[in-house]
C-alpha cells in the first residue's frame, strides 16, 4: 500500500506532524508514560525517600491489599453516598435556574446570566472561606434559621448529619458552567415547536414535559457525564474544609483523599497507584453504563438511524 499519493501529500503530512508535534510529545511524556508506569507501579513496592529509589516487585500484593482494606472500601462508600446526594442537586438546580434565566418575562437576562456564572471563576479556596463564613455556628445561615424558629441550628461543618448538605451547598457555586450549557440547550429548541403546542392548547407544564425536556436530553446527558466524573474525583473542597483528615467521623474521607494520603503522606506509590486504578475502573464502569443507556433516553435531533 502506498501511504502517500503524491509528494505534495507527503509535504502536507510533514507540515501537519510538525504542527501537532508538541501534543505528540505531551501524549508520550505526560499521558502514555504515566499510565503505563502507574499500571506497572501497582505490582511494585516502591520507596522514594531521599536520594534512594527502591523498587521491589511484589506481584499482586498491592491489589490483594485493596480487597481486604476496609478503609478503602469505606472511602469508596463515602464517595458514592455523596454522589447520590450531590448529583441530583447538581443536575436539577442549574436546570431550574437556566429555565428562569431563559424566561422571556425576565428583565435584564444578560446581567443575571453573568452574575450566575461569576462564582465559577472564584478560586475555590476563596469559595470555601466564603461558605465557611455563612455556615459558621453563629453565621448568617444559622441566624436566619434562628429567626425561623429553629432552636438548635446545626454545626454544619462539624456535624456528621450536615456536612454533606454543607458540601453540596458549596458545590452550588460551581454551577455556572452547567447553567450556560443548559441555556445553550434551551435556546436550541425550535420555537415552532412551542408555537405548535400553544395552538394545540398545551400549558406550560405540558410544553416543558413533552418538548423542552426531550429536546434538552443531550445537555442533561452531558452534565450527567461530567457530574459523575466530577463527584468520583471529589477532592479539593473536603481537602481544604477539613484538612483531609476525614472529620467529622470519617464522613469526608473521600476516595481521592485516601489516594492522595497514601502517596503523599504514607509514601506508598505502589498502593497509591492501585487506588488510582480502582477509581479509574469505577469511573469507566459508570461511563459505560451511562453511554449504554444513552440510546433509550437521549434524543439527538440530527440523528440518522
Amino acid at each position: 500500500m502506498k501511504l502517500f499519493a503524491s509528494s505534495s501529500a507527503r509535504r502536507e503530512a510533514k507540515w501537519a506532524y510538525a504542527f501537532i508535534s508538541p501534543w505528540i510529545l505531551g501524549l508520550v511524556v505526560f499521558t502514555a508514560f504515566p499510565i503505563i508506569a502507574s499500571l506497572l507501579l501497582t505490582f511494585f513496592s516502591a520507596q522514594l525517600t531521599g536520594d534512594s529509589r527502591n523498587f521491589t516487585f511484589v506481584g499482586l500484593d498491592n491489589w490483594a491489599r485493596f480487597f481486604s482494606d476496609e478503609k478503602a472500601w469505606a472511602a469508596l462508600g463515602v464517595t458514592l453516598r455523596f454522589m447520590l446526594l450531590s448529583l441530583p442537586v447538581g443536575l436539577f438546580i442549574p436546570l431550574m435556574v437556566a429555565i428562569l434565566l431563559n424566561s422571556k418575562a425576565l428583565i435584564a437576562p444578560g446581567l443575571f446570566r453573568v452574575l450566575w456564572f461569576l462564582p465559577y471563576v472564584i478560586p475555590f479556596v476563596a469559595g470555601v472561606v466564603a461558605w465557611r463564613g455563612v455556615l459558621g455556628q453563629d453565621g448568617p445561615v444559622n441566624g436566619v434559621l434562628h429567626l425561623l424558629g429553629v432552636e438548635n441550628p446545626p454545626f454544619w461543618l462539624n456535624d456528621i448529619g450536615w456536612i454533606y448538605p454543607a458540601l453540596v451547598l458549596m458545590g452550588i457555586w460551581g454551577i455556572g458552567s452547567a447553567i450556560i450549557v443548559y441555556l445553550a440547550g434551551l435556546g436550541g429548541v425550535p420555537t415552532e415547536l412551542y408555537e405548535a403546542a400553544t395552538v394545540d392548547g398545551a400549558g406550560w407544564w405540558s410544553s416543558f414535559r413533552h418538548i423542552t425536556l426531550p429536546m434538552i436530553t443531550p445537555v442533561i446527558f452531558y452534565n450527567l457525564v461530567l457530574g459523575i466524573a466530577g463527584s468520583l474525583q471529589y477532592f479539593l473542597v473536603p481537602f481544604v474544609v477539613n484538612g483531609g483528615n476525614g472529620t467529622p467521623g470519617g464522613s469526608t474521607l473521600f476516595f481521592n483523599i485516601l489516594q492522595y494520603k497514601t502517596f503523599f503522606s504514607y509514601q506508598d506509590p505502589g498502593y497509591g497507584s492501585v487506588l488510582a486504578w480502582v477509581l479509574f475502573i469505577v469511573t469507566l464502569f459508570f461511563s459505560l453504563v451511562l453511554f449504554g443507556t444513552q440510546r433509550r433516553w437521549v434524543y439527538y435531533a440530527g440523528e440518522t438511524k
Partner: protein, 362 residues
Amino acid sequence: MTTMATVGKDGLTGAERKEAKHRKTTRRRILTTFVVAILTFVFFAPIINLFSSSLKDPDQAVATGAPIWPARPKSITVGTETYTIYKVPLEDGTVKEFALIKSGRQQSTLADPLDLTKTFVWKGSWRTLENVWEFSFAIGNYGAVWKLINFPQLLFNTIVIAIVGTIGTVLSCTLVAYGFARFRFPGRDRLFQVMVATIFIPGTVTLIPTYILFLNLGWIGTWLPLLVPTFVANAFDVFLMRQYFLTIPREHDEAAQIEGASPMEILRKVIIPQSWPVIVAVTIFHFVYSWNDYFGPLIYLATKPELQPLGVGLNRFSGIYYTRAGYVEAATILTLIIPVILFIAFQRYFVRGVVVTTGLDK
C-alpha cells in the same frame, strides 16, 4: 376593522383586552425578575458576607449583640477622654442612649451624650448594658494582610505562573489545532479521537508517575512542573480551537497558498487574524484556570512557601489566622478580585467558550 371594537364574552372591547394583557405581562415581568433577583441575592450571600466580614474590626467578631454589617461601638470623645455609649433601660421602661462616665459593678455614672455635664447615677451592672453600633469600615485588615502574607510576593508568583502558562497554552494549542484542522495526514482522525479520549483520563491515574518523573528531574520545589506541560498543548483547548478553525472558509487559505504563502504564513496571516474570539477565550480560560489552580502548586511547591501562588498561600494563611476575624476574609477578597474583574471584562468570550466545548453550537 369591526372586530377591534366588538365586545367579547368577557364584556371587554379589544382595546381593553389588549390593555389588560399588557398589564398582565408587565406584572409577570416584574414578578419573574423579582424572584430571580431574590435567588441571585441568596446565591451571592456568601460573597456579600465575606466582603462585609473583611471590613469588620476584630472586636466586633467577639462582641455579643453586634450587627452583621461592619460596625464599631459608638462612642464620643471629649478632649482626651473617650466615652462609650450604651443602651440603658430606664425605670420608666424606656431605653435611651447614654455615655458611660464611670463604670461600677453596682452602680455607674452615666451622662447625656449631647451634654456630658448632665450626669446621673444608674443602678445595675454596666456589663449588662448593650453597645450602640455605628457603621464603620476597618480597612486596616487589608493593609495588615497585605504585609502579613507578603501579598506582593504571592501576587507576583501567581501572575508569572499564569502568564507563562497562558503563553505556553495559547502557542502550543494554536499550532496543534491548526495541524488537526487544516491538513490531511495518515492517522489524523485516529489521533484526534485519542486526543479527545485523553480528556476523560482522571488526573489521579497519571499523578504518581508524573510526580516521580518531576522528582527525578529535580523539578519539585520549582515552577517547572506547572509551566513546562503547558507548552505541549492540552486536549481541551486544542479541541476548542480546532472547532473554531474549522468554521473559517478554506478558500482564504487557498488564495494565500496560490500566492506562495507557506503553512506558517497562512496560520499567521489568515487563520489567527480571524480567530481572535477563540484565542481570547483560551487565554482567559487558562489564565483563570492557572490563577485558581490549587492542587498543582500544593504538591509541587509544598516545601517552598516563597514560590507559592495566592490559592495555596491563602489556605496556609487561613490555617494560622483563622481566629483573627477579618484577616482571612480580607486575604480572600484580595485573592478573588482579579479573576472576577477579568471575568466581568471578558464575560462574552467565557460564555461562548463554555458553549463551544459542549459541541452544541457546531
